[in-house]
């Protein structure tokens, strides 16, 4: 008699909870800081590269979709297909990373740092923290893809795939909140 379990490993959900907690607190802090510095935040928000952010949003959502297809594949025992879909997801993750590096590079060239002003402190902190999570997610997905290719998963046993998928979806979800909050809303 099996209850509806959370997909993937239980332990990962503790950490997803912790991740959402920390990002949630960061977003709340952002809201607080913004309320105290509305003009500053509005002004410097204009200097952000919204186009790059928008493209990156599409990139991440698409890669999440590929991950969904990957999980679906392994549920039907198609391990190779699963690995390929994950590979594509990782590739898109790479696109995100590349665009982000361009964005950071541009700000760095303008002499902007964590200490420039409170808006930039939040912008850089939030996006860099998220960026590191994207990198981490890519590492996790790559490991899962390699294992899938090597036949470690099957329709009966593929907890690792679901765990990696959950993590990537979380990373995507955070960006979907971060982008409008930091880049767009004023």
């Amino acid at each position: 008699m099996k209850k509806q379990d959370l997909p993937g490993d239980f332990a990962i959900w503790i950490f997803i909870f912790a991740e959402l907690l920390v990002f949630g607190i960061f977003f709340l802090a952002y809201a607080f800081a913004r309320a105290a510095n509305v003009e500053l935040f509005n002004e410097y928000q204009q200097h952000l590269d919204r186009e790059s952010g928008a493209i990156n949003t599409v990139v991440l959502i698409t890669s999440s979709f590929f991950v969904v297809l990957a999980v679906n594949a392994i549920r039907h025992n198609a391990a190779q297909l699963c690995a390929r879909w994950i590979g594509l997801a990782v590739l898109l993750g790479g696109v995100f990373v590349y665009l982000k590096l361009l964005e950071f590079g541009s700000k760095y060239a303008d002499g902007i740092t964590l200490s420039t002003n409170t808006f930039y402190m939040f912008y850089l902190s939030l996006t860099f923290f998220h960026f590191m999570h994207v990198l981490m997610g890519m590492v996790i997905l790559t490991v899962v893809a390699v294992k899938a290719w090597q036949g470690a998963y099957s329709a009966e046993t593929h907890t690792g795939v679901e765990t990696g998928a959950s993590y990537w979806h979380m990373v995507d979800l955070v960006w979907i909140v971060l982008f409008p909050l930091v880049y767009v809303m004023h």
Binding site: K2, F10, A11, M132
Partner: protein, 145 residues
């Protein structure tokens, strides 16, 4: 697809999480090291100030006092004592020099350290240097420390 609470997953999160945050901490440390020189008043550090820090340490002033809020809580904050004493190194010197050997009966007492004039001037210069470090929000909140 079952609720297997695997030890290896927990272990991987421990490894991954530790490495992740250690790297992040290094990145923030790197940024801090670039920023600190703009606020740490290092321009004021000369041989006299260096000697002053040495005297400060060799007499364990931190054992009773706080410096920028860190130390012991028996005696006053000294990070801003230079300002509290009217921006006067002489006042600081006079105070340290004037401590009675047997203490003040019934009250918290500061030892007489028998410092030389050179050491006294150095410690005062050190405290002046510390008082001019740009702390965030100008900590401490007021002149009393």
């Amino acid at each position: 697809m079952s609720e297997i609470f695997t030890k290896s997953m927990a272990r991987n999160i421990y490894y991954g999480g530790s490495v992740f945050f250690f790297l992040l901490f290094l990145a923030l440390t790197f940024d801090t090291s670039g920023e600190v020189p703009k606020r740490d008043n290092h321009e004021a550090i000369d041989e006299q100030v260096a000697l002053g820090k040495q005297v400060w340490e060799e007499n364990n002033c931190i054992g009773c006092h706080t410096l920028l809020g860190e130390g012991a809580y028996f005696a006053p904050e000294l990070g801003n004592v230079y300002k509290r004493f009217g921006n006067s190194t002489d006042a600081i010197i006079g105070f340290i020099k004037g401590r009675p050997v047997e203490g003040i009966p019934g009250r918290r007492s500061m030892p007489q350290f028998n410092l030389s004039d050179e050491e006294l001037a150095a410690v005062a210069a050190f405290l002046k240097y510390v008082s001019e470090i740009k702390t965030a929000r100008d900590w401490p909140p007021n002149i009393q420390g």
